[in-house]
Symmetry: C2
């Protein structure tokens, strides 16, 4: 600054207790952007094994707990009654890219239960898979609720409602039995009451309920190591984990973190992304669950955080790390394709 600059007093507002910087974005040799957040690893007995930042903060889990939200679909007997396979059950856990394989499968599934796209209450969305969106534009198509990344989850809600002989209309509302059944499942799996928990509306119109990050991880740990749960619930958890492991493409899609990581890790890790920087994992062999939240809600950081936690636990073999290199440290490129920086785990994750 020039010599005549008179500096203002230092700022008063520097809240204590900030979560640590967990991800750095570099350009050249300089850190350009920083992502703070919290992450927690919990075992199936509820013990916090490790954490970064505030693991007690209430977080909206968003789509990162779709595997837990899918439990009633199997546990109720709906999946069996309708003869659903791995594809449908994986789609019930999906935030898919709206690719043809996703939307066609949801469409067929809805027909199986005697319903159609008009029964979906999630709203329409252009596919996040850009090539699919462009192919649709070229064919003069516009997106429907089938292209909503949550359409498989909603098909699962509808299948459960039909099987339970409940009115399907309004199935997204908090008071509907479909949502109340999920609420009860979350309470039991995550070990806390949620009746008075903060509640918001998710992007796909269903309720999302905020509760501590450590409880989200606890639910994911028990999902992957369900032996102490009631037999029907344990069987449902195992069926869902099997379906996701068999059909990782259905859970996300082309060039997507969840699909790529699960293709490489197989049964060792079930990983699931959620909006606003939430990510969950279930690690059955380790009997661990993971939940994390990037404070600022950014996907790129949540992905790098999840990779760092998986490495911390020792889930990723050397070979897996080589295959997933660009999901552990994400390259930053310019529009000529040159690497000009990277999105990497910060020092908080080292050692």
């Amino acid at each position: 600054m020039p010599d005549n600059a008179k500096l203002a007093a230092p700022p008063e507002i520097r809240p204590a207790g900030a979560n640590p910087v967990l991800v750095e974005v570099t350009r050249g040799a300089t850190v350009e952007s920083r992502h703070r957040g919290s992450a927690v690893i919990v075992d199936a007995a509820g013990t916090v094994v490790a954490h970064w930042g505030d693991h007690t903060q209430p977080v909206y889990p968003r789509s990162a707990i779709k595997p837990l939200q899918a439990i009633p679909l199997v546990e109720s007997g709906a999946a069996e009654a309708f003869g659903l396979g791995d594809t449908e059950i994986a789609l019930a856990c999906a935030s898919h890219g709206g690719e043809k394989a996703h939307t066609e499968a949801v469409k067929r599934w809805l027909a199986t239960i005697g319903l159609g796209v008009a029964d979906l209450e999630c709203g329409a969305q252009w596919p996040s898979h850009e090539d699919t969106g462009r192919a649709m534009a070229k064919a003069d198509e516009t997106p429907s609720a089938l292209h909503n990344n949550c359409s498989g989850k909603h098909a699962g809600f509808l299948a459960t409602a039909v099987h339970m002989e409940e009115k399907t209309k309004g199935y997204v509302r908090f008071e509907h039995k479909v949502q109340q059944r999920i609420l009860g499942t979350l309470e039991a799996m995550c070990g806390l009451g949620l009746g008075d928990a903060p509640r918001g509306i998710d992007g796909c119109a269903i309720p999302t309920i905020a509760f501590p990050l450590e409880n989200i991880a606890y639910g994911m740990a028990r999902f992957g190591a369900p032996d102490e749960l009631a037999p029907a619930r344990a069987a449902a958890c195992r069926r869902i984990a099997d379906a996701v492991a068999a059909q990782p493409f259905m859970v996300a899609g082309t060039d997507r973190y969840c699909t790529e990581v699960m293709r490489v890790t197989g049964r060792a890790a079930l990983v699931k992304t959620g909006a606003e920087g939430v990510f969950c994992a279930s690690l059955p062999e380790h009997r661990l669950g993971v939940a994390l939240k990037c404070d600022d809600g950014t996907k790129r950081a949540a992905e790098v955080m999840m990779s760092a936690v998986l490495r911390h636990i020792g889930v990723l073999t050397r070979d897996m790390q080589a295959k997933l290199a660009d999901w552990i440290t994400i390259p930053v490129t310019n529009r000529n394709g040159e690497r000009v920086g990277e999105i990497r785990a910060a020092a908080a994750f080292k050692g």
Copy 2:
């Protein structure tokens, strides 16, 4: 957590000196995500008038200083020699959406200087304006360097090089006279030497140089109140400000913050976005410059921060605030179009 949970020790890594939370993202009654950052207001004499967070941190200004990078285009006489109008000069300051009006104007401009799209070294990019991208897909078109949001800035670089009789090839390189001329302009406008400053490569392949946020703001203040600069430079600053005020659409596009704010504020505020959460403003009537950076690089937060700073300074009349309501507090909607939350200025900006 269940009673048997043994909590791990609190984390060691909580870096001191975090920037304050400046933007909150809510869902229902709960804050779901938080954006930290820094912002500074500096006057044309170099005095720091107000700041939030660390205003001395070096920041890559990215595209937020395009108005300063455009100075040599006018000052060199190139703009006059080629008969450039408001459209071209505004495009030289643009991060445009790749809409037809943008790309056609850049194409015409290149023809005027005897060059074509193959001379642009910025790389190709699908338009950020989604409807334009879909219309292109429908017409079986693929993007060229004209659609790169920086194509107007690059056309300005090429025009300057042609006018100065410099070889145009390699104009994006740090050593090229085009970039060295801009470096010298930045040093003079922002009041510091940049020879040893951290350097990275921008998304469009040109150098970007990190320097303190307060110096970026100082340069923007002098740009808007250039009376103490040399006459040719002062005239260039005024010509650029006039062009941007006359053609705010050319600087960004449909439904874009910069365009919408400048349409409403007229000559009172020149605002310019940059990648990774940087934003600059020049407020000629107040003889002030603004520079801000969202720590995590998020656009939505940088926009809300800029609106909060403009309100703090008193740039936005009550009528302007009404017109810009959705850029001051950005609605969060679900895919049925229902408002389920908002992106708002945090308490740090109040009072």
